[in-house]
Amino acid sequence: MEKLTFRHRTSKPLPGTKAQAITGVVASGNLEVLMERSLAPDECTVEIETAINGYGPVWEAVVSDFVGRRQPGGLRITINDGGARPDTVTLRLLQGARLMEAV
């Protein structure tokens, strides 16, 4: 197991009022993403526990890409990973952001 933490500054908060959302499940090639609106509006943290060691740079790139695209200010994002591919990770992050935007 490997633990990774990334902190980002965003230009704006993620819209919506939902306090938390969860998407995905921990299974082979899948992951679960928990999003909580608990940080300052220009902050975003992503904490990851992954079963597959040694992919820190890939996670860093996927998370940076997501933060750049969605500007998820205010979100504390926690991930339990069962060995998902980068495209699946991106999909789940976008799904989570969409759920949090619901009124």
């Binding site: 938390q20 926690t78 339990n80």
Partner: protein
């Protein structure tokens, strides 16, 4: 209803039960927006054991428990996530279900629904898991004695095996779909212990006709057979809550007598189709291909209705 591989409907009730996640099943089953989760993922009540095995954990330890409304009546509900470690019972997973069942004695809901999707006890925390199975069965017995029906819904990819199969046997009523399977030892376990001549786990047709929903319904191991949609499970659950039998000595003695009679009558059968033939099914080989309507028609025409014994 004709078999359709993919639902094109956007209605959550038309989703496949088999394909849906534990959370999606609960959300669509209950009256919209009424689910209130206990010990939600934000509490991060995760397995204390899995890190020792270098295995990933889940925020809810593979089971979602809470309260909601079904047709306006308060019920308590638990749903196992079959994709996380095969829906297996670990320490936290089991304790959440025990806690829900014990809470039900105080809350007195209209029913407790258990959405089984499990391979049994999680081997990495087996002692805690086995203890949980015993505690759950005891809690269900106490709850039924207090007059609260406990209805099991079985149609997930992991089926209902091991300790889950034992717990299912203590429920007031069971609803099962074609994809659902109920047993204690799973196909691979039997093959490993007794050999492929005894039970070939790769023979999917054999697995389904021995442990699948139709067989369980035919021999009285389940009380309703449902299509693989959340709507069908919702309708069947509502109906079965109203049909929960009394839980007293007379019921248990009748159950014992039925089980003894079943063993006498079918104990020497070599295949499920033999049992179906003895039950009066004219063309046992055609049973696996029947859709729900035609299967229900067949059940209604049998000389004896399936009884409650499981």
């Amino acid at each position: 209803m004709a078999m359709s591989p993919v639902s094109l409907s956007a209605d959550p009730l038309d989703q496949s039960w088999y394909e849906a996640s534990a959370r999606a099943r609960i959300d669509a089953l209950l009256d919209p927006g009424t689910f209130e989760e206990f010990i939600g993922p934000e509490q991060r009540m995760m397995s204390p054991h899995l890190p020792a095995f270098d295995l990933p954990r889940a925020f809810d330890d593979g089971i979602v428990v809470g309260r909601g409304l079904l047709d306006g009546a308060t019920i308590l509900i638990a749903a196992q996530e079959g994709r996380f470690m095969g829906g297996a019972f670990g320490e936290i997973h089991g304790a959440k279900l025990v806690g829900l069942l014990r809470a039900a004695r105080a809350v007195k809901p209209a029913a407790v629904l258990i959405l089984f999707d499990t391979g049994g006890v999680r081997l990495q925390e087996a002692n805690a898991g086995e203890t949980a199975i015993a505690e759950i069965m005891r809690a269900i017995a106490d709850l039924r004695r207090a007059g609260v029906p406990v209805v099991g819904l079985i149609g997930g990819r992991a089926g209902c095996y091991g300790g889950g199969g034992l717990i299912a046997g203590t429920c007031s009523r069971l609803v099962v779909s074609e994809g659902g399977r109920i047993s204690v030892s799973g196909p691979e376990v039997i093959e490993t212990n007794k050999g492929a001549e005894e039970f070939d786990s790769r023979d999917r047709a054999l697995v389904w006709r021995t442990m699948g929903g139709k067989h369980r319904r035919l021999i009285g191991g389940a009380d309703a057979f449902a299509d693989d949609t959340i709507r069908a499970f919702r309708d069947a659950a509502r109906e079965q809550i109203g049909r929960a039998p009394a839980f007293d000595l007379a019921t248990l003695e009748a159950e014992q007598a039925r089980l003894e009679a079943r063993l006498d009558r079918f104990g020497d059968a070599r295949d499920a189709t033999e049992i179906w033939g003895r039950l009066g099914v004219n063309d046992p080989a055609a049973v696996p291909g029947l859709d729900t309507d035609r299967f229900d028609t067949l059940l209604a025409r049998l000389p004896e209705a399936p009884h409650d014994a499981r």
